[in-house]
């Protein structure tokens, strides 16, 4: 299963995504330069975290025009999995591949810390190895992860089971205290209707090895591989 990690000017978790695929999952992986517009050779595309174009103007706003990111649209349309983490999630929102937008964290501060997530949907290529309702410990690191969508959109997301992860406490309960940024409906990650595009603010690639204090994120990558092995690479089958 070949992964492509998009490198935008200002990406900085590109190395972490690359590392996790190569050294932990032990699958082939390439960096994909932002000027590249052909993603045919990949089975999964990751848009990593960081500050693409400095996040100047608005998070993810400028990145959405780069050739590689544009090619993601067509890549995803073929049912192949796309994982946007942190800044990658913000870019997917700006592109309109996922609904909603990000606001400043309620605290107005950048927050880097471990949070708990409740797995809401384990029927996606990214979560099939988790249990539904499982609580996992994953770090966040963002200043603008306060997810917003209007009521209609939220209703559609909930109905379509597109909310994949929610911020919760260690027991899986939702409370203002366990919501690190003010996101509506405690949303930490959502997918598209087809289920092959996932955007999430927390960083699974930062907790896929024992030495980093948690391995709870590893199953995201293992889910992808097992999904790929079963489906021969295309979703919706």
């Amino acid at each position: 299963m070949r992964f492509g990690v998009i490198v935008l000017p200002g990406s900085n978790c590109d190395v972490d995504c690359y590392h996790v695929v190569k050294e932990v999952l032990k699958e082939p992986v390439d960096y994909v330069w932002h000027q590249e517009d052909n993603l045919d050779r990949y089975d999964c595309i990751m848009i990593p975290g960081g500050f693409s174009y400095g996040d100047y103007l608005r998070v993810g706003a400028i990145a959405k025009f780069s050739p590689a990111v544009r090619a993601v649209e067509e890549f995803a349309a073929r049912g192949k999995p796309v994982l946007g983490i942190c800044n990658g999630f913000q870019i997917l929102l700006e592109m309109g591949l996922l609904p909603g937008a990000m606001l400043h964290n309620e605290s107005l501060e950048f927050r880097c810390e471990f949070v708990h997530l409740r797995v809401e949907n384990n029927q996606t290529p990214f979560t099939k190895k988790y249990r539904k309702g499982q609580v996992i410990r994953v770090p966040i690191a963002h200043g603008e992860g306060n997810y917003y969508a209007d009521e209609d959109t939220l209703a559609r997301l909930e109905e379509g089971r597109q909310v994949v992860f929610r911020y919760s406490d260690p027991e899986g309960r939702l409370s203002p205290d366990s919501n690190p940024n003010g996101s509506v409906h405690h949303i930490a990650g959502i997918c598209n209707e087809a289920g092959n595009i996932l955007g999430m603010m927390p960083h699974p690639e930062r907790c896929a090895e024992e030495i980093l204090g948690s391995t709870d994120g590893r199953l995201v990558f293992e889910s992808l591989r097992s999904w790929w092995e079963e489906n021969g690479g295309v979703a919706g089958g």
Binding site: F51, Y53, G54, F110, R206
Partner: protein, 761 residues
């Protein structure tokens, strides 16, 4: 500027003479020296260049002589002081570049941008060595948080570091912060960067090879900070500082990120002869330093420098301190390739001149010569002073402290709560949770421990890094304070299981033209040097920041030590937190009746005075040795050094580490000294360890064999911090156990954790 040096404004019959040298901050003597060097009067541009390069900030003219005391050699040192950063060997063909630098004055004027551009600067220092920057640390000092402006400065500095460092994708993994009135008008912002590289790939800041190309890469040049960093940092704060405000610059972390990536791509090639960052004194500094180091010359045409603003004069181009730029010396014929590398990243690059063999730094504008001076005379032949030093009179008064007159507080638990709530001892999480301390997935021990630990991917090794420096100790006894700074940094590194390798430092002091300040400076260096020798940790570089004064009052002498340690086997790393109920708690080292200079004395008794704790370097070395040995044998389950706040605070911190408030301890202290000194005294060379019952006797035996006092304090328990005292009399008779405190750790934890957020609400 008035070219003749005479004349000036006419005021009645009197002529006000405004000598040329004063306008660039030089003395008449120095001006004469320039005349000697040139054999003529310098023109305005030349004089401006000398003014900057001979400023304290660039020339170290008041500190150079004293800095020579530092031990700089050691087995692991690949690059000592003199380049942009020190480099040490960590084996496996790898090396680490690291350095600490101040950005105090800009941060006092514009905290966000001041701190942000400070990060930018230190990162470029590491980058120039050809190393990939991998982590940052920040060492901060502010006035008391009750003051609104201080809160603004503190908040601004932290978000500036966060804004710039996070955007760069560099984890900020550690640092320190102290609050004291002496920093009210003059906060300190010291930042450290460490970088990783292949051992054989060190790049130096040298312009050698006649005909090689001199290129500027990165951001365009604007009128930023003309006379900024250098002049601002070479004078005290007064009304005039306000006028110098435009000297503050806005950082562009996105540009810096591109600069980092493109420069690292460049140093992979063999086109590079030398690299230097463009920091204080901009092109003037970079050109003269690279040529000076190589003993070569350089010819540069300012018209070729890419600009952001129109109509800039040669003076402005040469003195601009625009951020996010680098000077690279490239082999002749490779210019086009270099341009390609940078344009791939969307960056400007331009050949602005050539290396020459005549030793002169010659500046042209469109081919016409506008300045020409010996390159080395700017950089390496700046004046060096040995000014008068005098022991300050305040020391006689302040070090007198009769402990007998101080009442011993009845409620020790209450005292502990007060200490934990003090901004100097409370949790620093409010700061570091604003930093992305995990990006690059190397951070294996997160902020909050004695030192941060980073893994070196592909080697099984780890790097431990910390910054330390207690300025109150230095104020009371600079020599001892300097030694403690080094010893504590080493001890912090040891507590993670790493062997201390080498140090960098930043020396923040008042006006060196005052004999008292220079005396403190010298004493601190003596103390640091002795400790660095004893501990085998050479100094590989650093930075001096003088003139940290507001309206004539200097800050406490504030050395900050940045220490790098190496874990041969990262799986053996140790953290401060208690691990398991039943584990035995051991204290290495001796607890003396030492209350001078403590946080306790200040918070509870309102006194800054007495002598700082004694520093016995031989004992320190032995304690560290015992620690490391025991860790290597796998006996140690947790380790934490006893520092500010004393034993009680250290024990509390051990309880807070893992699952907050879950752990506790039951401890019994046996001693003949005052209870407050036992609990809150800050005797040096002490470490709290926990071991399994089974390993206890081996550990005690080993400590005994190395002549290190090791006492069993008690056990790890659930949820309560309980301390009892057994008084031992002169005759060896023991009293019954008296409970000094018994507190739920959960409650203590809340107090400790809220210390900063409470103030910053």
């Amino acid at each position: 500027m008035n070219p003749s040096g005479r004349g000036g404004k006419k005021m009645g019959v009197w002529q006000v003479v405004n000598p040329r040298w004063e306008e660039v901050g030089l003395t008449e003597e120095e001006y004469k020296r320039i005349m000697e060097i040139l054999g003529r009067e310098p023109n305005d541009l030349e004089l401006g260049m000398y003014g900057l390069m001979w400023s304290e900030h660039c020339s170290y003219k008041h500190s150079k002589l004293h800095l020579r005391l530092f031990p700089t050699e050691g087995e692991c040192v690949l690059q000592g002081p003199g380049e942009n950063a020190g480099v040490v060997d960590i084996g496996d063909g790898m090396a680490v570049a690291f350095r600490l630098e101040s950005h105090n004055h800009p941060s006092a004027i514009e905290p966000y941008q001041g701190a942000a551009t400070g990060i930018g600067g230190i990162v470029r220092d590491i980058l120039t060595m050809g190393a990939r920057p991998i982590a940052l640390l920040d060492s901060l000092r502010f006035g008391k948080l009750d003051d609104e402006r201080t809160r603004y400065l503190f908040g601004g500095v932290v978000s500036g570091i966060s804004g710039y460092g996070n955007c760069l994708g560099l984890p900020t993994v550690g640092g320190e912060v102290y609050f004291d009135d002496c920093y009210r008008g003059n906060p300190l912002v010291n930042v450290m960067c460490i970088g990783l590289m292949e051992k054989g790939r060190i790049v130096k800041g040298r312009a050698s090879g006649v005909g090689n190309a001199v290129m500027v890469v990165g951001a365009k040049t604007g009128r930023d900070g003309i006379h900024g960093a250098s002049l601002l940092a070479s004078r005290e704060f007064d009304e005039k500082s306000e006028e110098m405000r435009p000297a503050v610059q806005v950082g562009d972390p996105f540009m810096e990120k591109l600069l980092v990536e493109s420069c690292l791509e460049l140093v992979e090639t063999d086109w590079v002869v030398g690299v230097n960052d463009l920091g204080a004194a901009g092109l003037t500094s970079a050109c003269s330093e690279t040529a000076g180091r190589a003993g070569s010359g350089m010819e540069v045409d300012v018209a070729l420098v890419p600009r952001r603003e129109e109509g800039m004069t040669p003076y402005e181009v040469m003195l601009s301190e625009s951020q996010e730029r680098m000077l690279v010396i490239i082999k002749k014929g490779k210019e086009k390739e270099v341009e390609k590398t940078f344009s791939k990243w969307g960056l400007d690059s331009a050949v602005i001149g050539r290396v020459t063999g005549d030793g002169m730094l010659t500046i042209l504008e469109n081919g016409r010569q506008v300045a020409s001076v010996p390159a080395a005379s700017l950089s390496h032949q700046a004046p060096v002073y040995n000014r008068e030093r005098r022991r300050p009179a305040y020391l006689d008064q302040i070090t007198r402290l009769s402990v007998e007159d101080l009442p011993v507080p009845r409620e020790a638990g209450e005292v502990l709560r007060r200490l934990l709530a003090s901004p100097n001892l409370g949790s620093r999480e409010w700061i570091w949770r604003q930093y992305d301390y995990m990006v690059r997935t190397n951070t294996v021990v997160y902020p909050g421990a004695d030192a941060a630990v980073l893994r070196v991917k592909g080697t099984g090794k780890g790097l431990a890094v910390t910054t330390d420096g207690n300025s109150r100790y230095c104020y009371l006894d600079p020599r001892t304070g300097g030694a403690i700074a080094v010893a504590e940094a080493a001890r912090n590194v040891v507590c993670t299981g790493a062997k201390p390798l080498a140090i960098t430092n930043c020396l923040n002091f008042g006006n060196p033209e005052r004999p008292e300040v220079l005396w403190q400076f010298r004493e601190v260096i003596e103390g640091m040097s002795t400790a660095a020798r004893a501990l085998g940790t050479p100094v590989t570089g650093g930075n001096v920041s003088f003139y940290n004064e507001t309206f004539g009052t200097a800050i406490y002498p504030t050395p900050v030590v940045g220490m790098l340690g190496l874990l041969k086997d990262i799986s053996r790393r140790v953290t401060p937190g208690f691990k398991e109920v039943g584990d035995v708690i051991i204290l290495l080292g001796e607890t003396r009746e030492e209350l001078g200079g403590t946080e306790y004395l200040k918070v509870v008794h309102g006194i800054v005075g007495g002598r700082p704790p004694e520093m016995d370097l031989n004992l320190e070395v032995r304690v560290q040795k015992v620690c490391l040995e025991a860790m290597e044998r796998g006996w140690v389950k947790s380790a934490h050094d006893v520092s500010d706040g004393g034993l009680a605070v250290a024990l509390a911190e051990c309880c807070f580490w893992a699952e907050p408030g879950a752990a506790g301890c039951e401890v019994t202290l046996e001693t003949g000294i005052r209870p407050d000194a036992v609990l809150f005294g800050e005797s040096q060379s002490r470490v709290i360890l926990t071991v399994k019952e089974d390993d206890l006797s081996s550990l005690l035996a080993m400590a005994r064999s190395m002549e290190v006092a090791a006492g069993v304090l008690g056990r790890v328990v659930d949820g309560r911090l309980s301390v009892g005292l057994v008084t031992t009399g002169g005759t060896g008779k023991k009293s019954t156990r008296r409970v000094l405190m018994d507190e739920p750790t959960q409650e203590l934890y809340k107090i400790w954790r809220n210390a900063l957020p409470e103030k910053m609400k």
